[in-house]
Symmetry: C2
């Protein structure tokens, strides 16, 4: 009330803050409608809403202050698709093809030859070591600024082999709503992904509303140097940290320094992140997306090479974590679908 | 206006948001007074206020959106004192003394013997390697939760040798005002310190208003393990990252993913962070605190072992960065001083 009786005295910063206020109010008004329209009514949706109401009810037994409302999301397979391969690997492959003219030696050198010949079997034979070589050849040897441009340009032009659309179209509409719903309730939403931090940062703010400082992921080493007096960060062909499995709670602790209140994943790579979240005191929420929808997206879980969901599915069953059945729990999958 | 005409319809989340609004307004109203009362009128104070006004003036040539208003602060010597030694080293020494009964071998083993005998010369002789041994003996071998308790208990009981007060009293009042002033103008304030992340996180939120997720520093490796089914993070006796000199821009990029708009330091260890900040486009602000006040704090710069300010001072002169003369620019140093 006070805000408005002093109206004539309001200075520029106050006007700005009043704008923020109006904006917050509009968000609140919107949240009063169904906040998750792409979710079918069912146990998953009810569990989400029940959890959010419990931790945001002032004076309630499960109330959590805004500052501690941290939600962490895996990216590949949780916020966007990850088939037929992690999109970052498809980026690496495209990148190797683009760089091939400068590397005639790749024609007879694995795993590069496999990429150039489109030889899936040889690529599989190259194993983890081969994958690492592809990643380093495509992700290192430039400045951080240059890499950001390369990623942005790729996303602007590359299309998914099955859906023939930009990769950033292949994000899950129900998860976009969930991110927004949590933020409207005071949560800070983070990505905690096995994918590269710098592969995600150029686009996740625009697509998910998650700012760069809330993106955690795997990384390669980076070196500060002066080039003609101008400081740059050079990307080195050396792994710094793999943000997967046991690495996820380690990085959450290092980057955020708070235990999440809620964690969202889709594979065994997310199990430790969910365990770490679940082990906190008070109300916590753990959710796994199970890919059950071969028609609209993909169907895979226990035996998949990519996004294998096996141990985590068992543990979710034992501990009562929420498991989303994509086919039945989601009215739509991608924003472009009806 | 809209906020208030619908008053009777306002639901719980909206009431919460209105509270946020009122709070933001009060912050704005307060900022209309002198936001930096502990700063003498002079070129340093003018430079700060001028910069903040330029980047927050909507429609002005230097305007920067709120999301990009990132300010990074060194801690030791910039936000609190660092003499007669980094406070974290004094913590390590106290810790070694507390643990000595469990380590009879330390009586005849350097650098531990030097600590137990209070032998400063022998401690100096132990060099960097000795320092590392002290740090590992005092900072590793427990869970992250246990370490947090140890730090908090030390801060609650230990006192500074000169001022005979808790270390957390030895923070700089003018810098507390500066942090608050920047935040009132939409800046996100970060610590980027050579000190340990986990040594700072237990107390900096209460003392500086900087939440754990905005604390960047040096770190040791941490490992996720299940103890009787309960997940813990164990602190290992192995350096993960030294967040000093060239390391500072590297970590800023990794943790924040945005180039700071403003950087505040006091030593050559902060030079690269200031260079990195300065090299961004548009208005940027770089500031060094020079310790010129032997009476109220300490006086040291070019030849000091701790917090050496030499190359960075030269570069500040060449590039026109703001250099705070503590003795003349600050009306008071610590909050407990008149």
């Amino acid at each position: 009330m006070y805000c408005f009786t002093v109206n004539p005295l309001i200075n520029a910063p106050s006007r700005f803050l009043l704008g923020v206020c109006l904006c917050l109010f509009l968000i609140a008004a919107r949240a009063a409608q169904d906040p998750l329209p792409a979710w079918s009514d069912g146990s998953s949706k009810r569990a989400i809403i029940d959890f959010v109401q419990r931790v945001t009810t002032a004076g309630g037994p499960d109330f959590v202050p805004v500052a501690e409302r941290i939600a962490v999301f895996d990216n590949d397979g949780t916020l966007w698709s990850e088939q037929p391969a992690y999109f970052q690997l498809l980026f690496a492959i495209d990148r190797v093809r683009a760089l091939a003219p400068q590397h005639p030696e790749w024609k007879t050198q694995q795993p590069f030859q496999a990429v150039l010949d489109n030889d899936i079997d040889a690529l599989a034979d190259a194993g983890e070591q081969g994958l690492l070589q592809l990643l380093m050849a495509s992700h290192a040897g430039m400045t951080t600024t240059e890499f950001e441009t390369i990623v942005s340009e790729w996303l602007a032009t590359a299309t998914h082999p099955k859906f023939k659309r930009p990769y950033t179209d292949l994000v899950f509409q129900p998860m976009l709503e969930l991110l927004e719903y949590l933020r409207a309730n005071g949560f800070k939403t983070y990505i905690v992904s096995g994918g590269g931090i710098e592969f995600m940062r150029p686009w996740v703010n625009g697509v998910y509303g998650i700012p760069p400082e809330q993106v955690i992921g795997s990384s390669i080493k980076v070196q500060y140097v002066l080039r003609d007096g101008v400081p740059v960060l050079e990307r080195l062909p050396e792994i710094d940290f793999i943000d997967d499995k046991e690495g996820k709670p380690v990085r959450i602790h290092q980057f955020i320094g708070r235990r999440p209140l809620a964690a969202f994943g889709n594979s065994d790579g997310d199990l430790q992140m969910l365990q770490w979240t679940a082990a906190g005191e008070g109300a916590r929420f753990m959710l796994l997306v199970q890919h059950t929808d071969a028609a609209r997206e993909y169907a895979y879980d226990r035996k998949s090479h990519i996004g294998k969901l096996d141990k985590a599915l068992d543990e979710a069953g034992e501990k009562g974590w929420t498991v989303v059945d994509m086919k039945n729990d989601w009215k739509t999958v991608y924003p472009f679908m009806p």
